[in-house]
C-alpha cells in the first residue's frame, strides 16, 4: 500500500506547473483502490482471523473468540477432504471439455466466419443474457427423468429403466462446462483473431500441411488465449456450488456447498473460513505454477 502514503504526501507538494501532474494519478486511483482495500483486502484478513477462532464451552451458537487455533485447518480439511478433491477434479474435467468445445468454435469465428463474425460473437455471449440460475434450472428439465435425453436413451436396449442423469457427477460436470463456456471462448477468440493470416500462409509456403501449420503455428500463437480461458473457467468452476446444488446430489457436493452450509446451516464460521482460505490459497498456487509453466507471465 506504499502508493497510498505517497498519494497522501504528494498532495501537499507544489500545485502548479509540471509537478502538478505527479499527484493526478494518485487522486484518480485513490477512491477505487480504497474501496478494494476496504472491501477485498480487509475481508480476506478478517476471514483469516475468523479461521482460527474457537467457540468457548457453553457459549451461544455463532459466538467465537480468537484463540489462534491453527488446528482448525487440519480439522476442516480432514472432515471435507472428499468434497475438496472432488471440486478440483470436476473443475478440471469441465475446463478440458470447455476447451474442446470452445477452441474449434473460436477458430471458426476468427478465421471462417467472414462478414458474420460480429453476429456470431454476439451469439456466443447471448445465452448469458438469461439468468445463470434459470439456465441451470433448465438443464434439470433437459436432463431430468421426464426430459427428452433420458426418454430417448431409455429406448436403447441396454439402458435400464432406472437410468438417471440428474443427481449424477455427469450432470454437475456438464452444468459447469456449460456455464463457463463463454469465459473460455472469448479469450481464445481474442488471441486467435490477433494471428496475422500471413504467418499461416508462410507456413504453407514452407511446405507445412494444414495439420502441421495448426500444430506448429496456430496453437503456439493462441497459447495466451488458452491460458486465460482455462483460468477463467477453472477458477469459478472450482469454487462454484450452484451447479452441484441444483443438478447434483449429496454425493456430488463440492467444497463451495460445504462452505455455504457451514456458514448458514451449521453456523460454524471458523471451519467455513478455514475452507475458503485453503481454497483460495490452493487456487493461487495452482494459477502461479500454471502461468510459470506455460510461459505467459505478461498475462498478469
Amino acid at each position: 500500500m506504499a502508493f497510498l502514503h505517497t498519494a497522501a504526501s504528494s498532495t501537499t507538494g507544489p500545485r502548479s506547473g509540471l509537478k502538478s501532474r505527479s499527484w493526478t494519478p494518485y487522486l484518480l486511483l485513490a477512491p477505487g483502490l480504497i474501496w478494494l482495500v476496504t472491501f477485498f483486502i480487509f475481508p480476506i484478513l478478517s476471514l483469516a482471523s475468523t479461521s482460527t477462532m474457537v467457540r468457548p464451552d457453553g457459549a451461544q451458537i455463532g459466538t467465537y473468540v480468537q484463540e489462534f487455533r491453527l488446528a482448525n485447518y487440519i480439522d476442516a480439511f480432514q472432515a471435507n477432504q472428499e468434497q475438496y478433491i472432488r471440486s478440483f477434479v470436476y473443475a478440471g474435467i469441465a475446463t478440458i471439455l470447455a476447451l474442446a468445445i470452445a477452441y474449434p468454435l473460436a477458430y471458426m469465428i476468427a478465421f471462417k466466419s467472414g462478414k458474420y463474425r460480429n453476429i456470431l460473437l454476439v451469439l456466443v455471449v447471448a445465452p448469458f443474457f438469461t439468468s445463470f440460475l434459470l439456465r441451470t434450472v433448465a438443464w434439470t428439465q433437459i436432463l431430468g427423468d421426464e426430459g427428452p435425453i433420458v426418454q430417448t436413451l431409455k429406448l436403447l436396449p441396454f439402458v435400464g429403466d432406472s437410468m438417471r442423469l440428474t443427481s449424477t457427477p455427469f450432470a454437475v460436470v456438464s452444468g459447469l462446462t456449460y456455464n463457463f463456456l463463454p469465459f473460455m471462448t472469448l479469450p481464445l477468440y481474442a488471441s486467435l483473431e490477433r494471428i496475422d493470416p500471413r504467418t499461416l500462409e508462410a507456413a504453407g509456403d514452407l511446405y507445412a500441411n494444414g495439420l502441421t501449420t495448426f500444430r506448429k503455428v496456430t496453437v503456439p500463437l493462441s497459447m495466451p488465449g488458452v491460458v486465460a480461458g482455462t483460468l477463467l473457467t477453472f477458477i469459478p468452476a472450482a469454487g462454484d456450488y450452484v451447479n452441484a446444488a441444483i443438478l447434483g446430489s449429496p454425493s456430488t457436493k463440492m467444497i463451495g456447498n460445504v462452505i455455504e452450509s457451514r456458514f448458514f446451516a451449521v453456523v460454524d464460521y471458523p471451519t467455513a473460513a478455514a475452507l475458503s482460505f485453503t481454497l483460495m490459497a490452493t487456487i493461487l498456487i495452482l494459477v502461479t505454477l500454471y502461468i510459470r509453466r506455460s510461459g505467459t507471465d505478461e498475462l498478469v
Binding site: F3, T6, R21, S22, T24, P25, Y26, L28, L29, P31, G32, W35, L36, F39, F40, I41, I44, S46, L47, S49, T50, I101, P104, L105, M108, I109, K112, N118, L120, V124, A126, P127, F129, T130, S131, F132, L133, L134, R135, A138, Q141, I142, G144, E146, Y178, L181, G239, D240, Y241, V242, G256, E260, F263, Y269, A272, A273, S276, M280, I283, L284
Partner: protein, 275 residues
C-alpha cells in the same frame, strides 16, 4: 478457373470433401445449438400453463407474459436486483474508469501493486469473496442487507471495468490527442473534446458488463444479502419445488432486451466508424 480439364470427382468423394472442408462449421453449429438449448427451454416454458410448479409442459398460455408479477415475490426481487444493479454500475464505472485512466495515461509509483490489486478479485473464487465479506460484516456486527449487496457488487465489478476501459484507452491513436494539442487545445479541452468521446464506447461497454455481472450474481449476493431478495436468489430458493413460469418470463425478457441493446450498439459503432 484452369482446372476444367481435370476429371470430375465422384459424388461421394465430393460429399466427403464438403464435410471435411466444412467440418469446423458443422462443429461450431452444434456448439451453438448446445449453447441455446437451455435458453430455448426457458423461453418455451415461459408460455407454460403451469400453476405453481413449472417442471412439466401443461399447455400454452399467454397469462404469464400478461402478468409477470403474478407469482408472489418475483417482482420485489426483480426491482431489488434492478436497483442494486443500477447503483453498483454507476459507482463501479466511475471508480474503475478513474483507475483505468491513471494506469493508461499516467506514470506513478506502485503500478505493479495496483495491477495486482485489480487482478486478485478476478482470480478469487466467488465463494471466497462472498464468505470473506460476510466474515468481516459479522466481525464488525453489521447486519447484511441491501447496502452490503451494493458494496460487494461494486467491489467485484471495479476490476472488470478497469480491464475493459484500459483496453479501449490502449487502443487509441495518440496522434489524435497530439493533433488537438497542435490546434491549441489545452490539456483539459483535449480530454473533454477528444479523449473522453473516444473512450466513451469502452466506458459504455464496461457499464453494460458491470450491470449484467451485478444483475446475474448469485454466490456473493447470497452470502451478503441477509433477508433481502434478488432475482437470482429468488430462482435459487424456489428451484427445489419448481420455479414459477413468471421467472421464465423475466429471464426471457432480459435476454431479448440485452440482445437488442447489443445489436443497436454494434450497429451504431459500425455507422460511426464508416463516417
Amino acid at each position: 478457373m484452369t482446372t476444367l480439364d481435370l476429371p470430375r470427382p465422384s459424388f461421394s468423394h465430393r460429399t466427403s470433401r464438403w464435410i471435411s472442408r466444412n467440418l469446423i462449421r458443422i462443429y461450431a453449429g452444434l456448439a451453438f445449438i448446445y449453447l441455446f438449448i437451455p435458453v430455448a427451454y426457458t423461453f418455451v416454458f415461459s408460455f407454460n400453463n403451469s400453476g405453481k410448479s413449472n417442471l412439466v409442459w401443461q399447455g400454452f398460455t399467454l397469462d404469464n407474459w400478461r402478468n409477470p408479477c403474478g407469482a408472489p415475490q418475483v417482482c420485489t426481487a426483480v426491482v431489488n436486483s434492478l436497483q442494486i444493479g443500477l447503483i453498483s454500475t454507476v459507482l463501479a464505472t466511475i471508480l474503475g474508469t478513474m483507475i483505468a485512466f491513471a494506469i493508461g495515461r499516467h506514470k506513478f509509483k506502485g503500478r505493479s501493486t495496483t495491477n495486482l490489486l485489480i487482478f486478485l478479485p478476478m482470480a478469487t473464487p466467488e465463494v471466497v469473496l462472498g464468505a470473506s465479506l460476510l466474515a468481516m460484516f459479522l466481525n464488525l456486527r453489521i447486519n447484511p442487507g441491501f447496502w452490503t449487496i451494493v458494496i460487494a457488487h461494486v467491489m467485484f465489478c471495479i476490476s472488470f471495468v478497469v480491464v475493459t476501459v484500459k483496453a479501449r484507452i490502449a487502443s487509441l491513436d495518440p496522434k489524435l490527442e497530439q493533433a488537438a494539442m497542435d490546434l491549441y487545445a489545452n490539456e483539459r479541452e483535449t480530454f473533454r473534446y477528444v479523449t473522453l468521446p473516444l473512450v466513451m464506447p469502452g466506458i459504455a461497454g464496461a457499464a453494460l458488463l458491470a450491470f449484467s455481472l451485478s444483475f446475474d450474481d448469485f454466490i456473493i449476493t447470497n452470502f451478503n444479502s441477509g433477508i433481502e431478495s434478488t432475482f437470482p436468489k429468488f430462482v435459487y430458493v424456489s428451484a427445489a419445488r419448481g420455479i414459477p413460469a413468471q421467472a421464465n418470463v423475466i429471464g426471457s425478457a432480459m435476454f431479448f432486451i440485452a440482445l437488442i441493446i447489443v445489436i443497436v450498439g454494434q450497429a451504431a459503432s459500425r455507422r460511426r466508424s464508416r463516417k
